[in-house]
Subunit: 317 residues, 2 copies
Amino acid sequence: MSLAEQVLEGNIRAAARLMRDIDDGRIQAIDELKALYPRTGNAYIIGITGPPGAGKSTLVDQLTASFRTRGKKVGIVAIDPTSPFTGGAILGDRIRMNRHSCDEGVFIRSLATRGALGGLSRSTSDVALVLDALGMDIVIIETVGVGQDEVDIVKEAHTTCVVMVPGLGDDIQAIKAGILEIGDIFVVNKADREGADRTARELSTMLEMRHAAEGNWHPKVMKTEAQRGTGIDELTDEILAHRDFFLSSKTMDNFLRERNQRHFMGILRDTLLKKALLFMAQSGYVNRVVTSMGEHRIDPYSAVEEIVSKMMPDRVD
Amino acid sequence: MSLAEQVLEGNIRAAARLMRDIDDGRIQAIDELKALYPRTGNAYIIGITGPPGAGKSTLVDQLTASFRTRGKKVGIVAIDPTSPFTGGAILGDRIRMNRHSCDEGVFIRSLATRGALGGLSRSTSDVALVLDALGMDIVIIETVGVGQDEVDIVKEAHTTCVVMVPGLGDDIQAIKAGILEIGDIFVVNKADREGADRTARELSTMLEMRHAAEGNWHPKVMKTEAQRGTGIDELTDEILAHRDFFLSSKTMDNFLRERNQRHFMGILRDTLLKKALLFMAQSGYVNRVVTSMGEHRIDPYSAVEEIVSKMMPDRVD
């Protein structure tokens, strides 16, 4: 039985192995993903994003417990910001989610980039696909909300929760102005801290100024203390309210169309680059070019033009 | 006279225009960059990275003043983390660097991604190239230190300063563990705050545990209060000390080789994707594929294989 078939039967170890194959960039993983693809689209994807120190991990932990009491299976993809440097998921297995470790209805996966060809957002969507195929009702993607990579990741989610925290300094205020556009729900966590009410009020005011049109979703600002579990049930309810809105609106069609287009383009980019690398490896081209560049005999733009015209002689121009 | 020639003569308006062309992804910009390339490699590039709220902008402002008093021309590329959302550089022109605005020896450029093909790191290295050609002695790249994009940007710098700040919560501590590997100098800014000494001590301890080999650079931990200008001269000295080390060591050769290879690969990836887009536009392929994907009639992997085999029929496989 193929890995894909085992995953579709709910085999957790097969899912873990497929995710490892995806991480390692194994060619076989693509065939398994192809086989899974027609059977996916059932999981509801929730993105949790916000600055470091906002308490996202704890919040995800509490949300998971909340969805579990409602009988939902939960898969979690935790994007570890340290990993680009270390090649491993530090936060991931260290402190996370001990209390769910014996629960078969929870599957947690930490993701690192390791300079992978496709980047973090590709790996994330592939892993979410596996969790979907595995039968998870909810997939939570947790990521630090700074940088293009993270924005791309959030685009995978049906409902995006932006987590803020009182008193993280001025830069955060500026980021907020930008992050308003991606949040469906805003969470002021650590709401027992000084300034929580002010942060929540400021957020509400900024959201009102967006002049959301009739028929659009109006994002709410929620307050939580994830450490104590305060406000978690209300947040879960609001996420489900947004899901109901999302599934009944034409947003869904646009969302799926954009997501499919993005996936296609991402895979196209990787595939083309892999082909080019193979082509150049056969001819020892890269080393020659880098040496020429080092001696300032050729600029990288001209070097690329040369190799591309060799790869695609008359087809495209 | 071409834009490139004007830039090489130190024409600031020509440089600004070329940077705008780069931002807009204009084809002509590539020809100008080709012309500039052989005349670059003179500027010393300093990366300033760290979490939001660490006071990086103020620190860059002070460093700029410090280098100016030492007779150096300073170019600044400020990466604005808000911009992926808003399409504009909010922080950039709002609060930044008013006191240098009449100084011809300082050139400041804020960068946004706007979902550009090449991504932020490509734009950054292109803009740094223009500042180099313009005759800037020092180019400072300021970026938020989270995510793969930011790590790629930092790789462009000869000397990287990681800016930390006391008391930003637990996640920051975890990030530090990863960020140790990219810093040549560590700065604890806002050193008047409670916990500054502890943060500095923790950093020093973690750095010592790396067991830096004989002959390697040993990163120092510096304390600054950028707001008041405290510690800035010492930081400038340390940056210059690292520059001396860098220029005299074999690190330089490896650095240039890796950078050239990275630039080549980045440009190659963009060029291939552009060719593919052009090819597909001619045949109306993308829309057909996205529709098929929406109906789950084809998975994105198979769709990509199909188009690539049409683009490169028998050349590469």
